[in-house]
Subunit: 248 residues, 2 copies
């Protein structure tokens, strides 16, 4: 082959396709223009990718009709390590890029491959020496951290915490030692806030962020003792919440 393909990491909005935000409020015009010309896609979810491209098309006409685009889904992760997906599956997904085309990688919200599927495909592209282009877009983690007032010079993102009460409490106590960020699935947001308030020291700063970049989104930092006294904000059960904490 002669042409050089590439893997293009395309950011999505943070409203999970609910169309609650103007796409031009959260994604740069240049990103929409790039997305509008990509024909081959590797996606966390094909349906939400088509919804995304419809929103793009309302601003910048797509180069090929939506129905004609080649959108393939990332293999669903087996329980446990991403290594469990056979390497051949990543090679097959990369085929358009290896054949000289641009291949877009997109997740359901925010940046692909950060707190979202896709990093194994990026690593396969790195191994294949494909050029990788990362387009500018919002990361819910970083927006939450910026708005928290916690220490942005040193932090750890630790993904999801255990679901069961005892190991979850133990993990919360471990995390209290550093500026730490974690996320929760929407329907467990309220349970996580209760567990955190029951577990953490009174003086620890606890941040909760919900729906940043969306109408009504907010980010609040209080000490645990203040959270316990304050009226709890209504935690939406539609948006994943981002939690951050920093021991006093």
């Amino acid at each position: 082959m002669t042409a050089t393909g590439s893997l293009v990491l395309v950011p999505n909005t943070l409203d999970l396709g609910a169309d609650e935000v103007d796409i031009q409020a959260v994604l740069p015009l240049g990103v929409l223009q790039r997305a509008a010309r990509i024909h081959h896609w590797a996606a966390e979810d094909a349906r939400s990718t088509r919804a995304f491209l419809k929103r793009v098309a309302a601003v910048v006409p797509l180069q090929s009709p939506l129905q004609s685009l080649d959108i393939r889904e990332l293999p669903k992760p087996r329980k446990g390590s991403r290594e469990a997906v056979p390497a051949a599956e990543w090679q097959s997904l990369l085929a358009p890029a290896l054949q000289g085309h641009e291949l877009g990688l997109i997740s359901e919200a925010g940046l692909p491959a950060v707190a979202d599927p896709g990093s194994a495909l990026v690593l396969a592209a790195q191994a294949a020496k494909l050029p990788i282009e990362v387009l500018a877009g919002p990361s819910s983690l970083m927006l939450a951290l910026a708005g928290s007032g916690l220490n942005g010079q040193n932090f750890a993102f630790v993904g999801y915490l255990p679901q069961d009460a005892a190991p979850r409490a133990a993990r919360l106590k471990e995390l209290e030692a550093l500026s730490q960020i974690f996320i929760e699935t929407p329907y467990r947001n309220a349970a996580m806030l209760s567990a955190a308030l029951a577990t953490l020291s009174a003086a620890t700063h606890l941040t909760v962020a919900c729906g940043l970049t969306l109408p009504g989104g907010w980010v609040l930092t209080h000490r645990v003792s203040q959270w316990q006294q304050a009226e709890r904000p209504g935690l939406p059960d539609r948006w994943p919440a981002v939690f951050a904490l920093l021991a006093a």
Copy 2:
């Protein structure tokens, strides 16, 4: 007071004002529109903030003339903890928001308060119960992580490493245990890459990212053994590099 002011976190481009990138390629139009109407600013650097607002004005006319804007600089951090800045300085900076205005917070590049000054002002705003709005924009850390192919489900950002060779090598070995991200100042980029290659295990994945979102920007992941054999990419001495590593 009756009006409710707010603190608005405004993202900047990643080219440190060098005008090497179209501002519309990296910042959403909605963010430019918001920035164009903010009169009061708390800035890492006043000069670069005026340069940013000039670039904004080329897309969206500013509501007040640039010369008339109220731009004040964040107190320079004393060596050591951010606590060393007297609380009265943060209150003084927050005054416009406490009086009912929008106060913009901006750093020289990327998101304010993440790997950049500003988090103490945000925490003061949280304590004053000011609404905080975080506008969508690029974080060099997250773009590097997304493009690395390393583990985006669990990671730590550990800021700058020690400058002296022996403690730097010791810290690099410590970091090898997790997916870790750190940054370096431009003129030490090459020395850091050499130190990492001399210190880390051959099988460890090492990512270097430079100038993402800028023309010629790149992100490369190799195992340490491959870096040692490969021709080293020219590490720019103008852009800070982002490094990430993951033990095999």
